[in-house]
Symmetry: C2
Subunit: 311 residues, 2 copies
Amino acid sequence: MSGDSSGPLPAPLAHRVPDLGALELLLAVARLGSLGRAARELGITQPAASGRVRAMERLLGVALVERSPRGSRLTDAGVLVTDWARKVVEAAEALDAGAQALRGRRDSRLRVAASMTIAEYLLPGWLIALRTERPGTAVSLSTGNSAAVAERLLAGQADLGFVEGLDVPAGLDGAVVGRDRLVVVTAPGHPWARRRAPLDPAELAATPLILRERGSGTRQVLDAALAAHGGLAEPLLELASTTAAKAAAVSGAGPSVLSELAIGEELAARRLVEIPVRDLSLSRALRAVWPTGQRPTGPARELLGLTRSRG
Amino acid sequence: MSGDSSGPLPAPLAHRVPDLGALELLLAVARLGSLGRAARELGITQPAASGRVRAMERLLGVALVERSPRGSRLTDAGVLVTDWARKVVEAAEALDAGAQALRGRRDSRLRVAASMTIAEYLLPGWLIALRTERPGTAVSLSTGNSAAVAERLLAGQADLGFVEGLDVPAGLDGAVVGRDRLVVVTAPGHPWARRRAPLDPAELAATPLILRERGSGTRQVLDAALAAHGGLAEPLLELASTTAAKAAAVSGAGPSVLSELAIGEELAARRLVEIPVRDLSLSRALRAVWPTGQRPTGPARELLGLTRSRG
DNA sequence: ATGGGGACATAAGCTGGGGTTATGAGCGGT
DNA sequence: ACCGCTCATAACCCCAGCTTATGTCCCCAT
């Protein structure tokens, strides 16, 4: 073993990080102040919990918990690790909520049809909130562009839709639930990141960008907004997914224009930098929609309430 | 089995969500377009990968991958699940990077001392960026308040510090690397969430809030900012951690004032709503610091470069 | 047309991590 | 002095996930 000729390739992440069960356990210990109580909450025995936490500490090489005959408290490092662990668990909960909806049968109490962007970034959070308010509400999810969402709603195959775009599809009523702002970004090393003055729209239009392929929603908005400034230059790169475009931008391949929803993390950690643009609002509404006249009722109304902007 | 008298308590998250290894595998399949190649990249065999993806699909109840004799592509649902999975894996990577730094030995090439907030929310991202730029740089991390950070730097026990606060500790030079804006928030159901006009500072000061305990950094800033408007009312709740305060606010217990860094997710998903306040800037600088005159060099300079604001 | 080489699937067998029960040992309150 | 809570240790068990070996399908190149 370890006689690998290809060099010491990094151990896979899963071997360096405790598994989800262990992280969940750590959160329970932090919350309840005792290994035994945490164990009970997760439906395992106290020795199992004890061993698991020990294994986690061995794996991470850091003492996380201070044991005493009267309970357990987190160490300083434990507090930090627990906060990081919470992020992992929350992301896993979002995945779980989303997957449950994707699996959802046609006979679900609430059938949602949503655009990709909304389904990806916002819906899981809403579903989690809905679950805490109305546990047991079965939700099913289908995704598609605005036209597909409208079609499902009008055919009675969905109870509530979510679309992004400049206008409401024909035959539907809607309510704005948020905004999707498109942001010009570069890696921190790019010259634009050092500009003092905002970018000129014409300059943006003239620069080759990393973009999603023609026909994507973000591309359409960008096209429309820059039509008055000479139109988009030939793209620097044309990629199939938002994720790929983001990765290219982070790696410094060039400037890109991406949805704010997709790059919150990257901006916060300064893996990407927002470039202000003068007099250009690349913003579109995110809307909940339903067939004209048929105001949502029951679970659909409930979910709508979770998402509505004030007013 | 399943004859439990305590009712159908929800299966723990870890039993409903694929483990990190499986998610990592899914990302590799998405990126490489083939189960076999993904397997090779993760250092397992093709049948193992095949079985694992199958198990993941069974667990989630959703087909993720379209197999063909020429490779594998994600299904529509698979794209969505993969995006959610990426968030989980990224959070796990942040945990890993942070834990490595916590474990870091005293003889690390780069010894960082940071405030809790910065260590928790920003540092992991920086460490990941540093790892991709300068792989193999060993980083160690210790946390403490501004005074403790200054002490470590001046004692030569740390090479670079990060503090939040209104001013730079004596004996140190610094550079602003970001801002920590405090935000007034409530659950979406709170009356304040329906206000049309911004809140008056005096009204905020007079209202009992969910706060961290006296002495915490956020509490100090708030105290100072509202001193001119009558001073803080008695808190509604006084909690030991930011996380606890956040949870209380989300559950609708009342209004709170929290760091923007801590509630990005909650704002995006509208589990919390920001309440604008007129003429009140609750903002403090996040600074990198080092002993006066000793500009960072080597790895410290590298890390600083990753975090610096433009200019 | 035919063999080679990729892709994924199936089968049989091993191993170890994580679970269990049973028990011991501190510490605090009554 | 004793109960009740805490956590730790020991001995045992099981199955998830890995391996190797093999089969099938399809495309492509000779």
